[in-house]
Amino acid sequence: MSNSSAAVSRAASSIAVEVEKVSKIYPGGVEALNDMTIQFPKGELTSLLGPSGCGKTTLLKIIAGLLPATSGRVTVNGVEVTGPGEERAFVFQDFALMPWATVLRNAAFGLELRGVAKSERHAIAEKYIEAVGLKGCEKLYPHELSGGMRQRVGLARALAVDAEVLLMDEPFSAVDEQTRRKFQEDLLDVIKHEGKTFIFVTHSIEEAVYVSHSIALLLPRPSRVSEIIRPDIDRDISPDAIRRDPVYLDIVERIWKGLRTYVE
């Protein structure tokens, strides 16, 4: 079922983000990425799964243009990345909300920085605040929210700028299992309706299999892609049925075995 070749052979136009031979050596000498090559198809969700410290955040920040690569290049829709761009939005692992701003202002902040007029950006932000299930919380400050609610504000902010590519760094790490499942289902909804490209970092194998079109397994530092798995799960069946689907359980098991060799 490993068909990385299939992913590679897709028409170039359907590739949103392409990472070519990217290496990253941090100033201190830590080699985080080594000659990493990977493609992210348009309109799909690709998960990055790998051991802690293997360079997932590093890769995501390089794609976001927040961090320069030591060598290699990243292109988004064929254009080389030299810095952050309008077509990409980042959901931060630690939320990065401004404690002095209300939910509404936080969610609208990407638009505020782009100079969108107040009434317009508030209207857009309100729409996405509702979409992530925080209607009625617009006037609250981040310290009045739970961790999971804060994460959703970060998500609303990223959705509000209407970027084509969403870079999500462990976006569901701060929530309990039940809420997490709800988010995953919501995310599947968003993927279906927004037609965006998602690059999604997670530590949870089940989560990766459940939400992804394809999963990139990364080797420990310095990181390369070891395998790309496309879980061919029928997503039209109910969430609970998916979680009991033998195909789903098989893939989870296989990834788990693959990763275990590194843990041991």
Binding site: A96, M98, P99, W100
Partner: protein
């Protein structure tokens, strides 16, 4: 919220009551003939307010104090923020302010009077020397400690350098900048009185020295007490402006 507020108010009143109680007790012991009781001091304060001698001296003290504090705040925050944003400025500026912070003011005053005479300028500079270092050092530390992910967030949403400074770095730094301003204001009050004691006796400093020289210790302490009251009120107002302009979120938790 309401009960919390009354609660904190009760504690404050209690704290003042204890301090004044100890003062009253020590005054009655008496630990020194030059140390009046709290109640004597208060009645002296009352009479000085009534006969206008208090009101007469304050303009002379407030003039260098307020001018000095305004200059220190603007200059101090500007320097501190700049040092926080720019490593070269930091390496150049930080040692100067660290030295200045620990410099004995009394030793500098003869230099000041030599250079600027005994007028208003010297007094303003005294206020500034006292208050600027702590304002600068706080502002600079605050800016340096802006959470990295918050700045990355601004960059990833295409904020310009100016937007990131104005909309992220400054609000994020404002609590510590304000802490510096409050300390700076307290130091400025000390500076203003020191200038009046060490350069030329005017204003409240004159009231203190004069009453000391004629052994009217209740009046001397009343003068000292009054300046402390002003300092506390001033600092309180400063805190409110922070909540008002930069950190509406803190008002919610009150």
């Amino acid at each position: 919220m309401r009960s919390l507020f009354t609660h904190s108010l009760t504690l404050r009143v209690l704290s003042f009551a204890i301090v004044f109680g100890i003062w009253e007790y020590l005054g009655r012991v008496p630990i020194s003939p030059a140390f009046p009781t709290f109640l004597e001091t208060m009645s002296a304060l009352g009479s000085m307010i009534a006969d206008g001698s208090m009101a007469a001296v304050y303009p002379a003290t407030f003039q260098p104090l307020l001018i000095g504090l305004v200059i220190s705040s603007i200059l101090g925050i500007a320097c501190g923020v700049f040092m926080g944003l720019n490593h070269k400025a930091e390496w150049f500026g930080a040692p100067v302010f660290i030295v200045l912070q620990s410099a004995p003011l009394a030793a500098l005053i003869p230099l000041l009077t030599f250079a600027y005479g005994i007028g208003l300028t010297s007094k303003i500079i005294t206020v500034c020397i006292m208050s600027v270092p702590v304002i600068v050092l706080n502002a600079y530390t605050a800016v340096r400690h802006t959470p990295v992910s918050m700045i990355e967030m601004g960059e990833s949403y295409l904020g310009s350098r100016r937007q990131i400074i104005m909309k992220i770095i400054i609000p994020s730094a404002s609590p510590v900048i304000y802490a510096g301003l409050r300390l700076g204001a307290a130091m400025g009050f000390i500076g203003a009185i020191l200038a009046e004691l060490l350069i030329t006796p005017t204003g409240i400093g004159d009231l203190i020295t004069y009453n000391q020289s004629i052994a009217e210790y209740e009046k001397m302490y009343a003068a000292i007490f009054s300046i402390m009251v002003f300092a506390v009120i001033f600092i309180e107002i400063l805190e409110r402006t922070e909540y008002l302009f930069f950190r509406p979120d803190k008002r919610v938790t009150q």
